[in-house]
């Protein structure tokens, strides 16, 4: 593989990590922190740095639900899949979101403006059912409120 500018940058980014030092996830986190996702080229660089096979690194990236392989959306909408949210109408919220934004979970709208992510309960169940817009908890939400919010986000995004 030829070293392009991008791979050189990633090499520098992960230069501190060592083989056999519990460094794979820390390295991937660092890449994702920098780029918002784990680009394909990065897997090769990380693999080389940690002396692992590229398929091995790819396997890890796909195993963990918090690693993304597509660029992050400008606005990220996390939908809580937890029990308290489900009990209080979280499924309505999900259907409303998917129908309004016309995407499914782990997908982005045109031009990566908005993206949906299936999230796990973080213990703010007092606001169930809820979503997090760029990390900020919004709830409790009815389906109607969700649709209004999603439409606003859709119109405003960009």
């Amino acid at each position: 593989m030829l070293d392009t500018e991008a791979t050189l940058e990633i090499q520098e980014l992960v230069a501190e990590f060592k083989p056999g030092n519990a460094d794979l996830l820390p390295a991937l986190h660092k890449v994702q922190h920098r780029y918002g996702y784990v680009p394909k080229e990065a897997m090769g660089v990380v693999a080389k740095q940690l002396r692992l096979g590229e398929a091995h690194v790819y396997g890890a990236v796909t195993f963990y639900s918090e690693f993304r392989q597509i660029p992050p959306p400008k606005t990220r909408v996390d939908w809580c899949s937890g029990p308290a949210c489900r009990l209080k109408g979280g499924e309505h919220v999900r259907r409303a979101l998917e129908a309004t934004l016309e995407i499914g979970m782990e997908e982005n709208t045109e031009g990566d403006k908005l993206g949906l992510h299936l999230a796990q309960c973080n213990g703010t169940c007092d606001f169930a059912p809820q979503i997090w817009v760029d990390g900020k908890v919004v709830g409790p939400l009815t389906a109607a409120e969700t649709i209004r919010l999603a439409r606003e986000l859709k119109d405003g995004a960009g």
Partner: protein
């Protein structure tokens, strides 16, 4: 006394006293309060105090666990009297500053925490959900600044480590054994025994892991500890290091807890700065350090062998045991894995002594357990109660109105996805004691308690949990990933009207097969399915035989219909994301082919829309099955 600890403590006392010499407003900054707007409140308070030129401190602290009252602000006067104010969002800050600094702001007051009685305001100690608690592990939450190690030290912090360092390894382990402490993750494995496994290993270096993956949906016990009193976890790990000879530790923390990550990292750094981590701690000869290691969203990585695999530069697939972590853990070296709360318990034991520790609780489970309560209750909260506390009393305190109205609580789910589910009539009879739960074939688990009322559908709950289990199955053994997949299929089918009379046999067969999974994720996964079939048979039967969902939750079993003709339907038509609310010749109806049953139309036009059973008039099950058989 160990070298330098006296100085540390007097310096810490000085730091703490300085904050108390004038009126101080404590603002909880933790995940729940932030969601309720506490950051904005903090900001507004700081500005307001500055503008008014008040000589008042504004202090960020941890939260007390009373989530529904957040932001729950405390105003502490120099004479020690303190009043708590509820739901103080930024817009109420002016009012609070007008009234609460020189007197009492009666409109916002929740309770008197310290000092003389105030007319018309209850005392915190009399408030039922507070009075029933035994706050030991949570004692400092909401009082101290979790980002200031001195606050912790000024409140008895690290005296437990000092006490432990004066004992031999064997003596510390004996003390932990005598406390009967059992793993708080839900494992219930005796902590002292586990430590002895590690201590007896010759091979070095030895490692500790703090399992802070807290993946159980609905559990946020560890999060509160890490966000609000992080040093207590670090102190417990240092004690464990002394007792077992471990020299390094990893805190395996889930990525979904960004604030806990930040606070734990800061706490580790501050402990190191004070010589409480690092080389030759307090001149005792103990050298021990640690770092936070961030997970990436995988439930099975909470299982200790999955966790180890994940740290071993790989996918977090649980391994077949033995070898156990004490033989081959991180880097294949001897390792001990404990839960966050288990380490915090050790801190308590060593700070306060066995007599104190053992003074509450029940035989075999002394002291307390932290629980997070959510679901169909009014007061979502985190509480700490003595083992053996009656669940019924706790329920009444978190849902007072429901109790009065007798709205129907249906089930309790303790310990999340793997632990099972119990109907109310059994659950509310139980004490909070893991052994009592076990008698019913379910687990009490790590502290998550989800209350479920009759607006929920048991088939839907199973669809949700079995889907979670399938999604989180690591995929190594077909038994687990195939088995959990079958669970999802069966419940989805039942929920969409395709239930068959032999489905219960299938569940039993699956339950047996799953026992042969590689790890507990697989073998425990059918618990909720089997318990549902045992305790909620009538409701599942309704789905299978009558094709009816009594809670009107299963989407394929219901249909939305227009019953009215008010103007609100215009709004309903506008809100519908699939344009399914249509008007032809003045008459409103719902285009069933388009409807996704999101309920939005009913949200805006509740009197004009109703939900009806959609499948009850299709062929009865017996006829359908006979026909299919030819």
């Amino acid at each position: 006394m160990l070298r330098g600890f006296e100085e540390l403590r007097s310096q810490a006392d000085g730091v703490w006293q300085a904050t108390q010499s004038r009126t101080v407003i404590r603002v909880p900054i933790a995940t729940c309060s932030i969601a309720a707007g506490a950051r904005e409140t903090l900001e507004a308070l700081r500005e307001g105090v500055k503008e008014r030129g008040f000589d008042v401190g504004v202090q960020a602290v941890g939260e007390r666990g009373l989530c529904w009252l957040e932001p729950l602000i405390e105003v502490v006067k120099p004479d020690g009297s303190a009043i708590l104010y509820e739901n103080v969002t930024a817009d109420k800050v002016e009012k609070l500053l007008d009234e609460a600094i020189d007197g009492v702001c009666a409109d916002l007051a929740f309770a008197v925490a310290e000092g003389p009685d105030v007319e018309g305001v209850q005392r915190l100690d009399d408030f039922d959900l507070w009075a029933l608690q035994d706050r030991r592990l949570l004692a400092r939450c909401g009082i101290i600044d979790p980002e200031n190690a001195d606050h912790y030290i000024a409140h008895g912090g690290y005296s437990g480590l000092v006490n432990a360092l004066e004992l031999s390894q064997e003596e510390v382990i004996k003390t932990v054994e005598d406390s009967t402490l059992r793993g708080r993750s839900g494992s219930a494995f005796p902590t002292g025994t586990k430590w002895e496994f590690l201590r007896s290993k010759e091979r070095e270096p030895k490692y500790l892991i703090c399992n802070a993956d807290e993946g159980d949906p609905g559990a946020f016990v560890n999060r509160i500890l890490m966000e609000c009193d992080p040093q207590s976890v670090i102190e417990g790990m240092a004690i464990a290091a002394h007792a077992t000879g471990a020299s390094y530790a990893f805190i395996y923390l889930r990525e979904e807890y960004p604030l806990a990550i930040e606070r734990m990292e800061k706490a580790v750094e501050q402990a190191r700065e004070r010589g409480l981590l690092g080389e030759d701690i307090l001149g005792s000869g103990l050298s021990f350090d640690m770092k936070v290691w961030v997970g990436a969203g995988s439930y099975v990585c909470g299982e200790e062998s999955g966790l180890l695999a994940s740290m071993d530069d790989a996918r977090g697939m649980p391994r077949i045991r033995p070898p156990f972590p004490a033989d081959a853990g991180v880097f294949r070296q001897p390792t001990n894995v404990n839960n966050v709360e288990s380490y915090a318990d050790v801190t308590l034991i060593m700070q306060k002594g066995l007599e104190f520790y053992n003074s509450v609780g029940i035989e075999g489970n002394r002291s307390t357990k932290i629980f997070s309560l959510s679901g169909h209750i009014q007061r979502v909260c985190v509480v700490e109660v003595a083992f053996g506390y009656p669940l019924r009393d706790l329920y009444h305190a978190v849902d007072p109105a429901t109790y009065q109205e007798r709205r129907k609580l249906k089930a309790l789910q303790a310990g999340a996805a793997l632990a099972g589910i119990l109907p109310t009539h059994l659950a509310l009879k139980l004490p909070l004691d893991p052994d009592a739960f076990k008698e019913h074939g379910v687990l009490m688990g790590g502290g998550g308690l989800v209350f479920i009322d009759d607006t929920a559908c048991i088939v839907d709950m199973n669809v949700m949990f079995s889907w979670f289990l399938e999604d989180e199955s690591c995929g190594r053994c077909t038994t687990c990933h195939g088995g959990t997949q079958r669970m999802v299929e069966i419940f989805r089918r039942i929920g969409s009207g395709g239930g068959r009379s032999n489905d219960y046999d299938k569940m039993q067969m699956l339950g047996k097969a799953l026992q042969y999974s590689n790890c507990i994720h697989g073998s425990a996964s059918p618990t909720i399915m089997l318990k549902s079939a045992e305790f909620f048979r009538e409701e599942i039967d309704e789905h299978i035989i009558e094709r009816r969902c009594r809670a009107q939750v299963c989407r394929d079993m219901i249909r939305y219909e227009i019953t009215g003709d008010s103007d609100k339907l215009l709004e309903a038509a506008a809100i519908c994301p699939t344009e399914a609310v249509v008007q032809t010749d003045e008459k409103w109806s719902i285009d069933q082919a388009r409807c996704i049953r999101c309920n939005a139309c009913k949200d805006v036009a509740p009197d004009d829309v109703r939900i009806v059973d959609a499948l009850t008039d299709v062929l009865p099950l017996a006829v359908a099955e006979a026909r299919a058989a030819g």
